[in-house]
Amino acid sequence: MAVCTGCSLLCDDIEVTLESGRIARTKNLCRKGLGRFRSLYSERASPRADGSEVDVGDAISRAAEILSGAKRPLLFGWSNSTLEAQQAGIALARKLGGVIDDTSSFCQGPLMELVIRGQMPTGTLDDVRNFGDTLIYWGSDPTSSHPRHMSRFSYFPRGEKLQKGFEEDRTAFAVDVRESPTAKIVADGYFQIPPGGDAEFIEAILSVLDGKMPKVQDKKRMISFVTTLKKAKMGFIFPGLGLVYSLKDRLDLFSQLVARLNEGVPFRVIPMVGHYNMRGFNQTLFEQTGGINQVSFADGEARRGQENGIISALDSCDAALVVGSDPVSSLPAAFARKLAKIPVVVMDPHRNLTADLARVVIPTALSGLEAGGAALRMDGVRVELAPVVEGASPSDAEVLARIREVV
């Protein structure tokens, strides 16, 4: 059995058939996961430094030169690396006196912080499967982003306390701006809200809980929805970027709702983390520094602050190491432009936009397929990864250790 690193579900029931060392057939991988497996054979990165093809050793030396020459290097990415690579990355940031941040900074970070700090009740996906009878997909579309979420854990499977199947045992709702594939599956449980309408929707639920009339949505429908929530044996909310981006600084409103629901019945929250080991990075950095992201090691001391998040740090950092991420693609163009103006070192299995403008590119093994290690699933459960095929490139952890030796 192989583990899929296509998303943060880390499906561990993948069967792979090899022919002459190459993946020939797979079982149980979804379309997205299959894409990840097939990416072994497309757009692989090759070692480069200052515009020329070099060998990996030279690329590593040049990377070390750039990073140790920088006053405030930014070490960014990490959510597509193993726990071991993340540890090595934090150690490197410490040694360089640099800034370390991950994709959660402009993704699920604010919500994940509450979960990791124990300020938001949470549970595992196995709890969801066994006990979760009332589910809310909120600003998330697992069908598209985590295709096996509903079939492996949340809606369709039989669980310990839920033996009859989804039609009788579980009630699912979706709150979303878009009538997504997930919204279509939950059908009558779909609430369409306007962009930015999440706060109003939360207030409407709170009103009904207070015995008042909701200000938005059909009143009868809202009352019936809240009645169902109040009857949950164990409820779960799966918030996606839709909710996080819509609430931004008002995430306390969501905390308030979760707290209110928990006065009556247990309601847990599992953020829909995107990349396979974002949770792992947040947890690891938190354990070492007290911050889940946006940490600076300048002057030998770990300090957490927004100025160390990639969005702000691009104004102050004078070099960047980007690991397993493509911020030039995923950041708004205005921020990508800032990254293009400083020397960048990229470590990645694949060619991408950030690699194309980087001064140094170090190709790495595709984790879970060419290199082993461990990762934390979106719910914090540790999953061991073992290599499936032999690759030509060193793992992230190995490259980072080599850079650390020479900086």
């Binding site: 993948i14 079982k27 149980n28 979804c30 996961g33 096996r148 369709f156 499977p157 039989r158 599956i185």
Partner: protein
């Protein structure tokens, strides 16, 4: 999916009875039910119906791949999410340690499983839509996010 009316439009519409049926409409219905083959309509093989024959073969092609229960899988639409694999009552009954609890099938008696990112139909005779006591179960189609499974 193609209906009898659409198929009828592609027949010669001359009610010649050469296929053994009284009308071209009856032939269209029989074609859809797989009781007749396109070639049973001999006039259609004449050059003047060449365009109709070509079109008819095109619209009938997906039906040829339908399993005996009439299940068609549109590979290009499938997410590989496995909702159908886990929701299928036969999979659940035959595979309590695999698909019933959300995992990939551990039994070879399942009807549906995901291979290379796309759902495949195995053991169609186990489907509840098959045989004399068949029931019109539709859990695999109603749980599909993209209408990738269809019954004809």
């Amino acid at each position: 999916m193609v209906g009898a009316m659409e198929i009828y439009q592609l027949t010669p519409k001359i009610n010649c009875k050469k296929c053994g049926l009284p009308t071209c409409m009856a032939f269209a219905v029989a074609l859809l039910a797989k009781e007749k083959n396109i070639e049973d309509c001999t006039p259609l093989l004449e050059p003047k119906y060449e365009a109709k024959l070509k079109k008819l073969r095109e619209v009938m092609a997906p039906l040829a791949s339908a399993s005996e229960t009439g299940l068609i899988i549109h590979d290009e639409k499938c997410y590989g999410c496995g909702n159908c694999v886990v929701a299928c009552p036969v999979n659940v009954a035959n595979d309590p340690r695999g698909s019933a609890i959300g995992l990939g099938p551990k039994s070879d008696k399942v009807i549906l499983m995901v291979e290379d990112g796309v759902v495949k139909c195995l053991n169609p005779k186990e489907c509840r839509r098959f045989g004399p006591n068949r029931i019109m179960c539709n859990l695999c189609t109603s749980t599909c996010p993209s209408k990738a499974i269809e019954f004809v």
